[in-house]
Amino acid sequence: MNATIRSSGDTVMREASGAAAAPVIRVQNVSRWFGSVVAVSDVTFDITPGITGLLGPNGAGKTTLLRMMTGLADVSTGRVTVFGEPVRDNPPLYRRIGVMSEHETVYGFMKGREFVTMMGRLRGVPELEEAVDRAIALVDLEDAQYRPMQTYSRGMRQRMRLAATLVHEPDVLILDEPLNGADPRQRLHFKHLLETLKEQGKTIVISSHILEEVEQLADTVLLIVNGKLAASGGFRAIRAALDQRPYHVRIVSDAPRRLAAAVVKLASVDAVHVDPDGALVVLSRNVGDLQLELPRLAQAEKIGLRRVEPLDDSLESVFGYLVDA
């Protein structure tokens, strides 16, 4: 799987290695605006069976895109199809789709099992009781199934919502920030569950603003920034692109000018400047090497390091770099 990184606004199609599976979800030239605000701009991609991660900072347009992929929201222009059919206003198609929105609100007065049963009944699940048993077992909530959901923790609510999403065994799963409120054990359980579903040939789309979360779960990543598809492809290629970006590192020491003269000679350093407050700002494309070399250098030069911190390690800056590249 190769990553394709283009400037913002470009149409980017996934480049799959090996035999390309037929797309299950097709998003074609989709835009959505709210008044003068453009939430999603001319986005095109296909999604095939497996786990696809929709990654982007908060406010990037991920949720709007997912809502259009589930038919909950209309497109302003473009077309979204699932299994070749328009997804909007197409109730029979929803039998094959499971959606878990980012909103964690549940019917608090309902017991967990009642909720899953109701969702199964609405989807016309045959042998409902067995299906409900299976779905609740999948999320490991058998012990809490007869408790009102208002007594659940945030993580338990999410898991019971996931059970309700899975009860009709959909072919397509669309999960918006599904790991909100999950503890490390639940994350691991969720990862195994997704892998099992993937082996069954399901098409799974998960969204997240957390890079590591998507890295652990998804085979393929769609990177959304400012409503546009910034990159798509295998996670490794995108990760490599991220690792090659220049980082700004701020260093506070007791001899900044002497440290600047020494540090500029390091191969991992591209540029150095000294701030008016005496702190050094180093530009590096190889932060891994810099992390190793800097303490050795300081020790050799007998310079005391008081503080070393990345200036732009936020996800937004990473995405900003990718979009501008």
Partner: protein, 237 residues
């Protein structure tokens, strides 16, 4: 349909909401008892105009129905649970209709009992009048319910807009402007009452009973159809 109906019944049967409705529904009965003991020149006309027309059909019934109906979809839109229903493979009318039926199921008995006991007291055990008042009140509830269920779906301020409608349109314009009366739910409920018991509201200029029934059906089905359309077209939060 049963799932949505039962879900809505549970959502709408909060103790506070039911308590307030019970108090509102009791008011016409209390006023009827008071009027029974307060001799006036024309007690029947006063009772019809004050208790049945202004109070029951024009205020209490729409207020009680508004409190229930606006929440039928409004609460789900507000707490973002509506997607649970709309991503289900069921036709949209099978979501809207049970919501309307649940609203009528909860609001109907309050208004029906209020109308029954008010008429029973006010008309001093006149069964024809009591049945006419009760049946027309139930039809009125169904009309208001269809209107306000739709309102809860199209406006996040359904209670405020509904109150303005009740006070300004049903309470003011429809009472004083004859043309406006033709677009008033209260007017058709009273016309139906008159059709079943011609002695009631005898001095008003009524449409025929058949027309009242047809208009009631058009209002109920029309706003239900608008709710279905809205469910199909809206962006579900």
């Amino acid at each position: 349909m049963r799932s949505v109906y039962l879900l809505t019944l549970r959502q709408l049967s909060g103790k506070w909401r039911l308590g307030i409705m019970a108090v509102l529904a009791a008011m016409p009965v209390i006023i009827s008892v008071i009027m029974l003991h307060e001799a006036t020149a024309d007690p029947v006309t006063d009772f019809e105009e004050v208790v049945l027309g202004a109070m029951l059909a024009g205020s209490i019934a729409p207020l009680v129905v508004l409190a229930i109906a606006a929440a039928a979809f409004g609460n789900e839109v507000e707490d973002r649970t509506l997607a649970n229903l709309t991503i289900s493979p069921v036709p949209r009318w099978r979501i809207a209709l049970p919501k309307l039926l649940a609203t009528i199921t909860i609001a109907g008995p309050f208004i029906a009992l209020s109308a029954f006991f008010s008429a029973h007291v006010g008309f001093i055990v006149d069964w024809q009048a009591t049945i006419a008042v009760t049946v027309s009140a139930i039809v009125g509830v169904a009309m208001y319910a269809s209107l306000f269920v739709w309102l809860g779906l199209v406006s996040t301020q359904a209670i405020g807009v509904g109150l303005l409608y009740i006070v300004l349109w049903e309470g003011f314009f429809a009472g004083f402007v004859s043309g406006a009366r033709m677009l008033s739910i209260r007017y058709y409920a009273i016309a139906l009452m008159h059709a079943m018991d011609p002695r009631r509201f005898a001095e008003l200029d009524h449409v025929s009973g058949t027309t009242a029934v047809i208009v009631a059906a058009v209002v109920i089905v029309g706003f239900l159809a608008l709710s279905v359309r809205r469910l199909r077209m809206m962006d579900v939060p």
